[in-house]
């Protein structure tokens, strides 16, 4: 008796599934014909990033800033953009699903993905489809390994090397300890290159301590080791949430070395319940500082704050620059919204290496053929609760 119900249920489900699938298909074709009929006037730019899950902060920042930039550009009128942002939960598999969803929407260019591992998975698909991709913050080397992909942020190796050179050349310290997240691509990527470059520089890594994503609330062990090793400077190639905990715990231990971080540390001043005095004299190498005095940054910060009620972080700045870079490349290459994604990609890929933009994250940014940006990292130090250029 039960068997039969189950069988009937199975058949009903199979049929309904087939129906939903075909329904999706037919909807898509209907959309296609509709859009091809009327001349399309706006570029369809897709975005992918985490809106849920542990890295949602970054994805949300990218979404907000990209939408802000798109609004400004559409108001200016020269180029029209339609923006659609999909959630990938910070997961490679979901990112590919999000990418396919955007393809069904007839996306012509992709701004994404926000985090590195999903970006590496998606870049394979965009390369197959010859779709232009610009990631605001996917910093792993493989994230843009194909010629159709570019990025706004620095790559992990560049940050590691730049940090080591900065510490070495400015004689900031001679004994350095590192605390990094071994389960994070960003963090361990920076650490590896930092360690390699440190060998060429005039300082010594006396201690390297790792933690993982499963175990990132108590850092006393790592700090004790760093303290015991006599390090004058602790290098933190990590994100600001953990850095805030490390600073607090170091203070409780009475350990007061210099702290040095990368762009992940940006945002540390806006952590809830974090005593800003602890971040005093923390140095970080970042392309963006929300307190910078130039007009562009101040306008951006003001508009962003008005719209979303928070101070934008570096991810937001990367996304904002990303949209402007896309628009600049559109103008340069002369692609039009009625071209297909592949033709647009060919034009954009060439134009990206020819443009130069003044953005939030750097002046006169240019791109090389392998997709890396050329811009100078700024060393910033925190003084009186604000970022000050060093």
């Amino acid at each position: 008796m039960k068997k039969f119900t189950k069988r009937a249920l199975g058949i009903v489900l199979a049929v309904s599934m087939a129906l939903t699938m075909s329904a999706c298909g037919s909807k898509e074709t209907a959309q296609d014909s509709g859009e091809n009929g009327s001349a399309q006037t706006a570029f369809k730019v897709g975005g992918i990033g985490p809106l849920t899950g542990g890295t949602a902060v970054y994805g949300q920042a990218v979404k907000n800033a990209a939408e802000l930039a798109v609004e400004e550009i559409n108001a200016a009128g020269e180029v029209q953009i339609e923006f659609n942002y999909q959630d990938d939960e910070g997961d490679a598999e979901k990112a590919v699903n999000a990418y396919n969803t955007l393809k069904d929407w007839d996306m012509q260019m992709l701004l994404g993905t926000v985090t590195s591992a999903p970006c590496t998975a998606v870049v394979e698909k965009t390369f197959e489809d010859n779709m232009f991709q610009l990631t605001p913050s996917g910093s792993a080397v493989e994230s843009i390994q194909h010629p159709n992909a570019f990025r706004v942020c620095f790559s992990d190796p560049n940050q590691g090397i730049a940090s080591a050179q900065y510490i070495g050349e400015n004689k900031v310290a001679s004994k350095v300890a590192v605390i990094y997240d071994s389960s994070d691509v960003y963090s361990s990527g920076i650490y590896q290159k930092f360690a390699e470059e440190a060998a060429n520089q005039d300082f010594e890594i006396v201690e390297a301590q790792a933690f993982t994503a499963d175990n990132k609330t108590d850092f006393t062990v790592q700090l004790q080791k760093a303290k015991a090793s006599g390090a004058e400077l602790v290098f933190l190639p990590i994100y600001y949430q953990e850095a805030a905990l490390i600073l607090t715990q170091a203070d409780q231990m009475g350990y007061k070395p210099m702290f040095f971080g990368c762009d992940g540390l940006d945002g540390i001043l806006s952590v809830d319940k974090f005593d800003k005095n602890l971040a005093e004299d923390v140095m970080l190498l970042t392309p963006f500082a929300a307190d910078a005095q130039d007009e562009l940054t101040q306008n951006f910060v003001k508009n962003y704050q008005e719209k979303y009620g928070e101070i934008p972080n570096q991810f937001a700045a990367d996304a904002y620059d990303g949209i402007y870079a896309i628009v600049e490349a559109i103008k340069k290459s002369g692609v039009t919204p009625d071209m297909d994604a592949s033709a647009i990609c060919d034009g954009m890929t060439k134009a990206m290496t020819e443009i130069s933009i003044n953005g939030l994250t750097g002046e006169n940014m240019t791109w090389t053929e392998d997709g890396e940006p050329n811009k100078a990292p700024k060393a910033v130090v925190i003084k009186d609760g604000a970022y000050v250029l060093r």
């Binding site: 199975g10 199979a14 699938m21 396919n100 394979e124 390699e196």
Partner: protein
């Protein structure tokens, strides 16, 4: 004797329906593909669907047939994924034909996961109930974390291993890092296709269904139902428990192979190989019916499709997903709902009509 044949044919019929559902699904998808009626999203989901179905079926062998709650299933998947991706990456330059390499990768993934199943099964299966669940959970996490500190590189001297960092591999000029700790394996060839996924799913079903209906399967179920009674009639408890556990692990490894060869990046994260995933697979099994192979397969497909089909609702999709889980749980297992379902099942209505006719 008559009873026996009736029972046998019932099994055969039930199996045929299970295979039939898979084949019909395959045929429908192929038709939709051929006529261009399948959206990109759906095309991208086909391999994951097969993968989750295999996972659900294989875990059902441990949970439903062996009767032990395993919370480390994603760990075996992780082993299969990394072993096969490592093999594919390692052999990529040797000029081995891609087809043969992929078949070998599938076998290696299954074999390695199976070996881990035996190794972990030996200590774990001495435990029972909650303790077993906790220890499998721990092993699953251990596997994931070991993968996160494992560095393997290859140069002219051969393979180099390290548990510290890629720098410690001391590779020569021209050497490549294959497994790069937390950054995992990148650049695995994308060879998983829907057809291969369906073939693997059918093989999985064939193995599991035949095992259940064999002498060994009955021994395994006897252990589940009453361990002492089973032992008293001379069933080798350890052997059969290990058999079910390691076969289940090997099949999870096969799903891992599909996963690794579907994405070009393979990283052991809490999201894909942590306990979240193990629980996810367990949810498929529980909602599909513990011990019900076909049900778990269908549940896996529905629960994988659902969040993607609900993308239009943005953040609300998580809410709806949760509600669907709860509703499915209630409708499937609540006694009142069960009684209602049975009262209005086709067979019951047919039987009632028949009796009504006879009365007339």
């Amino acid at each position: 004797m008559i009873h026996m044949t009736a029972k046998l044919s019932k099994n055969v019929r039930s199996n045929a329906i299970t295979y039939g559902i898979v084949l019909v699904f395959y045929a429908v998808v192929q038709i939709l593909l051929a006529t261009g009626n399948l959206s990109s999203l759906m095309r991208g989901l086909l391999v994951p669907l097969c993968m989750y179905a295999i996972l659900a079926v294989s875990l059902n062998l441990t949970v439903g047939i062996l009767g032990e709650l395993s919370l480390g299933h994603a760990g075996f998947m992780c082993v299969g994924a990394f072993a096969s991706a490592f093999f594919s990456k390692y052999m990529a330059e040797t000029g081995m034909p891609a087809g043969i390499r992929f078949v070998a990768a599938i076998l290696i993934g299954a074999l390695m996961a199976g070996i881990f199943g035996i190794l972990i099964g030996i200590p774990v299966l001495r435990l029972k109930g909650d303790y077993l669940a906790i220890v499998t959970l721990a092993f699953g996490e251990i596997i994931k974390n070991v993968m996160n500190v494992l560095f393997i590189g290859k140069d002219s001297d051969g393979l180099h291993f390290s548990m510290n960092s890629a720098v410690d591999l001391h590779l020569k000029e021209g050497g490549t890092v294959i497994v790069n700790g937390p950054q995992g394996i990148t650049g695995t060839p994308n060879q998983s296709t829907f057809t291969i996924g369906i073939i693997l799913l059918l093989i999985t079903l064939f193995i599991v269904l035949n095992l259940i209906q064999s002498r060994d399967g009955r021994a395994i179920m006897a252990i589940r139902d009453n361990r002492i009674a089973a032992e008293s009639v001379g069933i080798n408890i350890t052997k059969y428990k290990l058999m079910a556990f390691s076969i289940s692990a090997a099949l999870a490894g096969v799903a891992g192979v599909l996963y690794a060869h579907n994405l070009s990046t393979l990283i052991a994260q809490p999201k894909n190989f942590g306990y979240n995933m193990s629980i996810m697979i367990l949810v498929y099994v529980v909602l599909g019916g513990i011990g019900n192979i076909r049900g778990s397969m269908i549940a896996a497909v529905i629960l994988t499709l659902l969040p993607e089909l609900l993308r239009g609702l943005n953040d609300y999709r998580m809410l709806i997903y949760a509600i669907v889980l709860i509703v499915m749980m209630i409708v499937n297992w609540n006694p009142t709902c069960k009684a209602f379902r049975e009262k209005y099942s086709f067979r019951n209505i047919k039987a009632r009509m028949k009796t009504a006719k006879e009365v007339r």
